[in-house]
Subunit: 307 residues, 2 copies
Amino acid sequence: MGGTNTAFAIVDSVGHILAKDSFPTATASAEVWADTLSRKISCMIADSAFEGEIEGVGIGAPCANSVTGCVEAATDLPWPSPIPLASMIESRLGIPTVIANDANATAIGEMTYGAAVGMRNFIVLTLGTGVGSGIVCDGHLLSGARGFAGELGHVTFPFASDRLCGCGRRGCLQTVAAAKGIRETARRLLEESDRESALRDIPESERSPLAIEQAARSGDPLAQEVYAFTGECLGKAAAEFAAFSDPEAIILFGGIARAGELLLKPMREAFVANSLHLYRDRVRFLCSALDDAEAAILGAASLPYMH
Amino acid sequence: MGGTNTAFAIVDSVGHILAKDSFPTATASAEVWADTLSRKISCMIADSAFEGEIEGVGIGAPCANSVTGCVEAATDLPWPSPIPLASMIESRLGIPTVIANDANATAIGEMTYGAAVGMRNFIVLTLGTGVGSGIVCDGHLLSGARGFAGELGHVTFPFASDRLCGCGRRGCLQTVAAAKGIRETARRLLEESDRESALRDIPESERSPLAIEQAARSGDPLAQEVYAFTGECLGKAAAEFAAFSDPEAIILFGGIARAGELLLKPMREAFVANSLHLYRDRVRFLCSALDDAEAAILGAASLPYMH
C-alpha cells in the first residue's frame, strides 16, 4: 500500500506471484479502502484455484507498526492516522493479517524469497528517499518496545555531522546514503573544485542517483567519487551496526543499491578498516535478490511467515 | 566462574539463594575443574531438599559464547580455549546447561529477578573494567550469528575519538565509560587547569572511580564534572542505541553504576537532547536492582529461563 497505489497479489510459499492487481489508494476513507481491497481480494481468490488455502495476509505500508497493527502518522496517505489496518482487513476477510513498514517487510521478503534465504542474522538497509532498515537477529525481526526498532537511517555519524536531516538532527546516515544525500555529495564535489565531470552537463534538478551512477559507470572520476564516499560511509556505519547484532550479512535494497559494486566495494573496505576484529572478515555485503518490481509484493507476502 | 574463583549456588525461581559455595578456579585442567564443580554441585543437591527438582544449570563465564556453548579466547582462565563448558557440565550432571558471558547473564538476571522484571525490551550496560552489554529485544536476548551481538562497549563515538581502546581502535564507548576511562577523564580535567579539587590530594594510582564518586558526593565540582561528562557520553551513546532496538529502559550495572544519579541525570539529559523524537521521552534510565554480591550468581541462575 503506497500513497498513490495499492497493489495486491496471491503469492505461493516459494515466492511465485499467481495473480496480481492494483487500484488507486485515494478512496473516500480508510474504511472504503478496506472494503474495496477486501472485495477485490475475495474476487481474486474466487477467480483462482486458491479458495480456502490462503494462510495469511501481509501488508507493507508506510509507517506501519507491526506491534500495534496500525498505520501511524503516515503523511503520505489521504486519511488521518492511526489506522488499525491489520484488524480492518482481518475482520473483513477472516484471514490472519500482519502489517509492517516497508523496510521490515523487505527484510522478511529477503529472508523468505531473496538474498537472505537460510540466514538468521542480517540487516537490510533500504536506500531510497530515506534510509530504512530491517534487522533480523537470531531468526527474529526486531520490533522493539513500540515497534520502532531498526531506525538505522537516523543513527548519527561524524562523516555527516555537517548535514541537517529532516528529523531536525545533524549527522543521520540518511543525509548521505539516501537519494538527497547522494545528490548533495555530488553538488559539494562539483562545487569545491572545477574538475571536469560529465555531471556538470546535467542540470542540478536532474542529477539523480541514477544519472550519477550512469556517469560513474561511464568512467567519470567525480561521479565514481560520489559512490566511493557513499559506500565508505555505509561501511563505517555497518562497522558500528555489527557490534549490535553480529550479522552474517548486510543487504542493500532499493534504487540506489542497483549501483552494486560501486557501493559494495568501498563499503567492504571501510568495514574492514573500521570494525572490531570480532566482525572484521565475517560479514558479507550483498545487494537485494528481489526483483524491484515485485519486491513490495513479495515483502508483504512474506510477513505471515514471520511468526 | 571467574579467573580466580568459581562460585555456585542453588537458586529458586524467584531469586532466593538456597545454598552457596565456592572453590578456586585454578585446577590442573578444565576437566578437573568440571569434575570438581559437578561433584560439589551433586553434594550440594544431596545435602538439600532439591534433588530431582533442578531445572537447569546456568554458568556465567568470561568470553562464554551461548551459541557454541564454549568459552572462547578467555585470557583470564588458566587453561587453553576453547573450552566446551556447557557440554562438559551437562554430560557430568545430566542437567541441561546454558552458558553466557557475564554481561548477557546480567541482562537475563535483571529480567528474571532485577530491574527489568516484566520488560521485554531493554539494554544492560555493565560498567567495570570494560563496558559490556546485554540487549533484550522482544523478550529475547540477542546472540547474533556467532554469539557476538551486544558488544556496545566497542561502538565508537566522536566524544572519545582521541582515546585509544585496548581493541586497537579509537573512540570506543568503553574508553570513557569504563574504570580506566573515568580515571582518564579525571586526569585530563586536573591537567587542563589548576582548579582546586580534592582529587589533587589523591595519588593518581589511587584515584579510582569510587574515590572520584566519593569526592563528587562531597561536593567537589571537578569530580562532579567527571561523572557529568561520563553520563553525558552514556546518554549520547544511548540515543544511538535506541534507534537499533527501541528499548523501554537502559539499565546500568557494575561498580561504576553505583554512582546512581551522578550518572543517570546527565545521561537522561543528553539522551533527550540527542535522540530521535520517536524515542525521546520513552526510555527509562535505571541502575541495576541486583545485589552486587549476588548478581553473578543470580545472572547465571537465570540463564536456563532464557529459552
